[in-house]
């Protein structure tokens, strides 16, 4: 009906039921991101054990796309090593910007973000969580 390509069921589901939303009191890594076009802000929290991410969460307000993307990110990061997280980030960024990348399986939630690519202004929304992650890892 309206905008099925963008508002896939799975995106709406993550938006309405974000996975790990809220501050992570014992996080050892945090970073703040902002989308200057719309003012949406996001804080990302990671807790690592050695090289491995054991917990991830986010806080902030934003549109369905930015919130769903952040929710998917926190879900996907748990259990990854920092290096794996970096690779995942590159893969998502490539998917969103139309660069060559290994596609996500249809049953992976992240694949639902592919539809965003046709909405240039929304790409920044979907990217917000991932560029915040990027800055966090670069600052590390």
């Amino acid at each position: 009906m309206v905008d099925d390509e963008l508002y896939r069921e799975i995106i709406l589901e993550h938006y309405h039921h974000p996975r790990y939303k809220g501050a992570l009191p014992d996080a050892n890594l945090t970073a703040e991101g902002i989308n200057p076009l719309c003012g949406d802000e996001l804080t990302l929290y990671l807790k690592t054990d050695g090289d491995r991410i054991v917990e991830a969460s986010f806080e902030g307000r934003g549109c369905s796309i930015s919130q769903a993307s952040a929710s998917m990110l926190t879900e996907a990061l748990r259990g990854l090593t920092i290096e794996e997280a970096r690779q995942l980030m590159e893969r998502v960024k490539a998917m969103l910007t139309g660069a060559p990348h290994e596609p996500f399986d249809e049953d992976e939630d992240l694949s639902a973000l592919e539809g965003v690519r046709n909405y240039p202004v929304r790409i920044k929304c979907a990217l917000l969580a991932w560029t915040t992650l990027e800055e966090m890892l670069e600052a590390k």
Partner: protein, 418 residues
């Protein structure tokens, strides 16, 4: 409450002048409700550009040949038209790119020369970033301080707070005539009178006023008045600063370059007469000429008629949105206290998503902070949706906009609130 558009106001004839309104978006007719961001342009304005480039294009002011004379004449005639439109003389009207440049011109030329450590600049919390950031930059350079007049829960300027700030004898009060988020019309004439009484200069940001209502800067009696052509039927790239002529004469120049000089030596230069002193380099001649034509167009329709028409649209929009339980409206409830725009939010849907879904229906509204992050923080949101009207919008369009909000509920509503 039933809404009536004055019988003499022929919106269909007006619409026929705007080629873009025939456009379709995703198969739907375009309903353009993003006029506070920029307006559409009538045939007459577009034709003025074509005619200028096909007939008279040349650089102005310094040429002796026929084209240069024609271009100069057209440029200066446009200046006079735009000046008279706001009740000013041509000598006190400087062409700029837009409102933003006009305010920066004042901040750099007047501000750097007149503000000192500890001096007070009074702004309001409903200012657009264009009337905040230039003052922050000038405050950093001079040591001046900024104070902000808050607005009430009804979205009106807190006049008591303003008066108490005036008692601290600020050097400048910089205030918007109409808020681009709340729609509020501020009493700029009263503010100017009170500010002048304590010796403050007054700058009015007229970006959202001049397009929508009759403005007379002589009556307001302000010292500076800034506005943008692109929000009032003129092309992008042209705007204007009105300033009292004696202030323009006292102020040092802003940008240096061709035209604005009298004499240049190795060490120093002297300046041309105002307003040329403030127009360095080749001006945006064609767009200035078209700005004059835009003003002609608005005057032909009549600013009172336009204001009344927009008020009808605003009333209808307010009436329809107020009846919706899942929607919050920002700014004054009384359409007579506003210019033609309505900012709102769904309680449970981010305005980005609202704008996106409406776009699929051909309905263009804006969602974001509207360059007013301070208002957003005051309203405790990151963004709002905004429908803004202009002379060519119709009641049917307002209703189509309202109906399309149901699509938002179809995508997001079934989950209920979060």
């Amino acid at each position: 409450m039933s809404v009536q558009i004055a019988a003499t106001y022929d919106v269909q004839t007006i619409r026929a002048d705007f080629p873009i309104l025939k456009r379709r978006v995703d198969g739907n007719p375009l309903v353009y409700l993003d006029n506070a961001a920029t307006s559409q342009k009538p045939r007459q304005v577009i034709d003025a550009l074509v005619q200028y480039y096909e007939q008279s294009n040349a650089n102005v002011h310094r040429g002796l040949h026929t084209l240069a004379e024609e271009a100069t004449e057209a440029y200066e005639t446009a200046r006079a038209k735009v000046a008279h439109f706001i009740g000013a003389e041509p000598e006190s009207l400087v062409f700029t790119r837009n409102t933003t440049e006009a305010i920066n011109l004042v901040a750099y030329a007047w501000g750097l020369a007149n503000l000192r450590e500890g001096d007070l600049i009074v702004l309001s919390e409903m200012e657009h970033h264009s009337n905040i950031v230039p003052w922050q930059l000038v405050a950093q350079r001079t040591g001046a301080k900024l104070h902000y007049v808050p607005f009430t829960s009804e979205g009106e300027l807190d006049m008591e707070a303003l008066e108490s700030l005036l008692r601290q004898e600020p050097k400048l009060v910089a205030i918007t005539h109409v808020s681009n988020v709340l729609g509020t019309v501020n009493p700029v004439q009263e503010i100017t009178r009170k500010a002048h009484a304590v010796g403050a200069k007054v700058l009015v940001d007229g970006a959202q006023a001049v397009p929508h209502k009759l403005v007379n800067v002589t009556q307001i009696d302000c010292d500076f008045y800034a506005f943008s052509g692109h929000k009032m039927l003129a092309p992008t790239g042209i705007g204007a600063l009105y300033a009292r002529q004696e202030l323009l004469e006292q102020m040092p120049p802003f940008m240096g370059g061709g035209s604005m000089i009298r004499k240049v030596t190795h060490e120093f230069s002297t300046w041309a007469d105002v307003p040329t002193k403030f127009e360095a380099g080749t001006p945006n001649i064609a767009d200035a000429v078209a700005f004059g034509v835009a003003v002609d167009y608005l005057q032909r329709v009549g600013m009172e008629a336009i204001q009344q028409h927009e008020q009808s649209l605003t009333e209808e929009a307010l009436r329809l949105l107020e009846a919706e339980e899942d929607i919050v409206i920002y700014g004054p409830r009384d359409a007579r206290k506003r210019c033609g725009l309505v900012s709102f939010n769904f309680k449970h849907v981010h305005p980005h998503d609202v704008a996106q879904i409406l776009d699929k229906r051909g309905i263009a509204i804006r969602a974001g902070h509207h360059c007013c992050q301070i208002i957003m923080r005051r309203l405790d949101v990151t963004a709002t949706a905004r429908a803004s009207f202009y002379l060519y919008n119709t009641l049917e369009e307002v209703r189509a906009f309202w109906k399309a909000l149901d699509d938002v509920r179809k995508v997001f509503g079934k989950y209920g609130g979060r």
